[in-house]
Amino acid sequence: MSKKIYERPIIRPLNTGMMNKFGTRTEYLPVTHLDGVSVKSLIKQYGSPLFVFSERQMRENIRNAKRTFETRYPKVQFAWSYKTNYLNAICNVFHQEGSWAEVVSRFEYDKALSNGVPGDKILFNGPDKTDDDLRLAIKNNSPIHIDHLDELYRLTEIATELNVKPRVAIRVNMDTGIYPMWDRFGFNYETGQAWDAINKILASGKLDLVGLHTHIGTYMLTPSAYGVAANKMADLALGIKKKFEATIQYIDMGGGFASQNTLKGSYLKGSDVVPAINEYAEVICTALLNAGFKNNELPTLYLETGRALIDNAGFLLGTVIANKRLSDGRKATILDFGVNILFTAFWYDHKISPAQEFGMHTEDTVLYGPLCMNIDVIRENISLPPLNAGDQVVVHHTGAYTITQSMQFISMRPAVVMIDETGKPHVIKKKETLKDLEMNEKMPEHLHQFKLT
């Protein structure tokens, strides 16, 4: 008689009153393959932990988003929000799909240029642009999105000096009924700041006001807020038409559409509460179409969607280092990746699946990373089948802000692989080495040597 497969013994209390009506079974269904490639083989070849991106999923996301907006509005332009994930291979997938670039710093700007994005298709956002940055953007004819009055004055001076008329937009912030209100970026709508800035620009005649920009927040669960925002933006554009006979070429609604991650403390799973992209599209496009623009003066709708286009295309693979029992009786599992590469664990309850087949039984577990500090918690409480040292897990929805916000701390940052549409993996970033880490360090002469006794 052949022996049965061993599984760690587990017992878990049944709390019928507290059962989740949606069940938790899907959370621990094993995920053994990503786009047809086995998780085990990926880890074997490229190491653990490992970030994996699905090119197929990325293309599907952007195509779906474009289709959704373009079937509702005649003029739509997406710009890839570099900060969300600026690995060049990732950016280029979006550029191949027709997306421009949206950047918020000089190095992102330079990245977009060197990826081959023409200057006039790079939207330059952010509060921190130096004179040098502004001059370069002017030279390349990039739309400069002005964040504050100091920038407006500075840009006007530079334009006067160079005797050119830079293309600009102003960033507008506003009350959309959402708390907290993002009012630290741009000019406020309700207090008339935005209208004042517009008047300054048009009265001076030194800058070419081509657009209006807003970004009302991120991970926005209420599509109607975008309807309010689009109405206010349209109101400004129509006011400009009325007072100055000037036509605004584009209205940029920024990013912020939620991805299907679950916010910490949320009873419902992200996949159950996050609006589909067509719900955002519907309110934005309806507001703009009904605002009262003449047909030939309808502004182009720009979108800087980030997380909603990439989050579900990114996975973090990792390995169980050890299991522990905490003093209060809870099970703890230590994984080989920490919050230094999964910063988003601070605000999301990331979905995590085992990468191998398991039985029916699960137990409540705390998932820790390997960093020697208390904040290194990947999941405070998750129901998983018994995992043994050496078993592997797949963390879902890790495409947005993980790579760009990751830091080297105690452990090096892992390799990043992209699986192409034919199922072939490509390394798009090598695993960090000590050499990379020390590349910019310098040792003062007197510290070169020491003797220990």
Partner: protein, 81 residues
């Protein structure tokens, strides 16, 4: 380590503590261990029994067994010693 005498074990993987009214779900290996404990078997006998039925090495089983006992104690399913 002895499991409380009044603990009831079902064939379908449930365990019931009549003194508290709490019930638990237990995986098949856990069930086997609980049944062996109810027969007052000690670690060595339990280990032999499990290893003859499952693919498992000694060290792994011992580690898991102690961990499992800790959880049982935590749920107050073991006799006080």
């Amino acid at each position: 380590m002895k499991i409380r005498k009044n603990i009831a074990v079902s064939d379908t993987g449930f365990l019931f503590n009549p003194s508290t009214g709490d019930s638990y779900s237990v995986n098949p290996i856990g069930m086997d261990i609980v049944r062996l404990m109810k027969q007052n078997k000690e670690l060595n006998e339990i280990k032999q029994a499990i290893m003859s039925e499952y693919v498992c090495d000694e060290a792994t089983f011992e580690k898991d067994y102690y961990d499992f006992s800790m959880v049982l104690r935590n749920y107050k399913l073991l006799e006080d010693e």
